[in-house]
């Protein structure tokens, strides 16, 4: 289902819990599907004893992937034209992440209507872990 321009109000926000108590197993799953087997993410001995981190931590792209769901759930499938952002803090096993998108603008692009979104994902302490933007086509 495609979002309609008429239904999009600048300033509207939408929040969604993306993961609750992130499991190490999910990080392992993501390593397997993405092909990024960096032991920082899945190997507690390596992450703590070799690399000096408090534990393994999630791939930034896992956080971005989970955040992508927030965006596609809102704008519909196959409508995104841009999606990007910065990884602003690390995500550790046990974290609960909530994503929020905010409608920044609707405008014309390439002969159609698009919506610009601000996207922010925070952990259970309110610390932002991903700060991004997205643009998607909407029905005019």
């Amino acid at each position: 289902m495609t979002l309609k321009a008429i239904d999009v109000e600048v300033g509207h926000t939408h929040s969604q819990v993306l993961v609750t108590d992130l499991k190490r197993t999910q990080i392992v799953q993501y390593a397997g599907t993405s092909g990024d087997y960096n032991p920082l993410h899945t190997d507690e001995i390596f992450a703590t004893k070799v690399a000096g981190y408090p534990s393994v931590f999630a791939h930034g792209m896992l956080t971005m992937g989970m955040t992508g769901r927030l965006v596609t759930d809102y704008v519909g499938d196959g409508q995104l034209t841009r999606f990007g952002g910065r990884f602003t803090s690390q995500v550790f096993p046990g974290d609960t992440l909530t994503g929020t998108l905010t409608v920044e603008a609707t405008r014309d692009e390439d002969g159609g209507k698009v919506v610009d979104l601000k996207v922010s994902t925070v952990n259970q302490d309110g610390v932002e872990v991903f700060a991004g933007t997205a643009t998607a086509r909407v029905e005019s």
Partner: protein
């Protein structure tokens, strides 16, 4: 990174969607499936030289019974990797990908710059732009990565 052949496959999409915790039924439907927004990251699976995948018969930096003492092999392309972290990622979609598409990818190194971090010491950023083209040679996704290498572990982001 250079990938000659990145086949977009339904089973891979299904498993990728599961791994990011996305229950959208489109990813479970072999007839309708499209690639999730961050899926092209998985092109690493098809990069023969990808340095964050153990290679058969070669030393690997991850632990066995104890740390191995093996340090990472060299490799570029930004993103994470022994001492390197992923700072930014941006995708531009020219069209959406579906099973049956076969992509190729080439990465062009971009800018490099330095910054003094609050916790992690000197930060060295480097940028790379990857163009994904389909079986017809058409540009389908443009991906920009910013990687950062830190002097010390960055425990609260770079």
């Amino acid at each position: 990174m250079a990938v000659d052949r990145f086949p977009i496959e339904y089973g891979h999409i299904l498993m990728f969607a599961r791994s990011i915790g996305d229950p959208n039924p489109i990813y479970e439907d072999p007839e309708r499936a499209i690639a999730p927004p961050t899926f092209v990251q998985a092109s690493a699976q098809f990069d023969p030289d990808y340095f964050l995948r153990p290679k058969i018969g070669r030393p690997w930096m991850g632990s066995g019974k104890e740390p191995t003492g093996v340090t990472r092999e060299g490799g570029g392309g930004g993103g994470g990797g022994g001492g390197g972290l992923h700072a930014e990622q941006h995708f531009e979609y020219h069209r959406h990908l579906k099973p049956g598409d076969v992509l190729s990818a080439t990465t062009t190194p971009g800018r490099t710059w330095e910054k003094e971090g609050r916790r992690a010491g000197k930060l060295v950023f480097n940028e790379g732009v990857t163009e994904y083209r389909d079986q017809n040679g058409d540009l389908v996704v443009t991906a920009k990565v910013v990687g950062v290498r830190t002097e010390r572990p960055a425990t609260a982001g770079a």
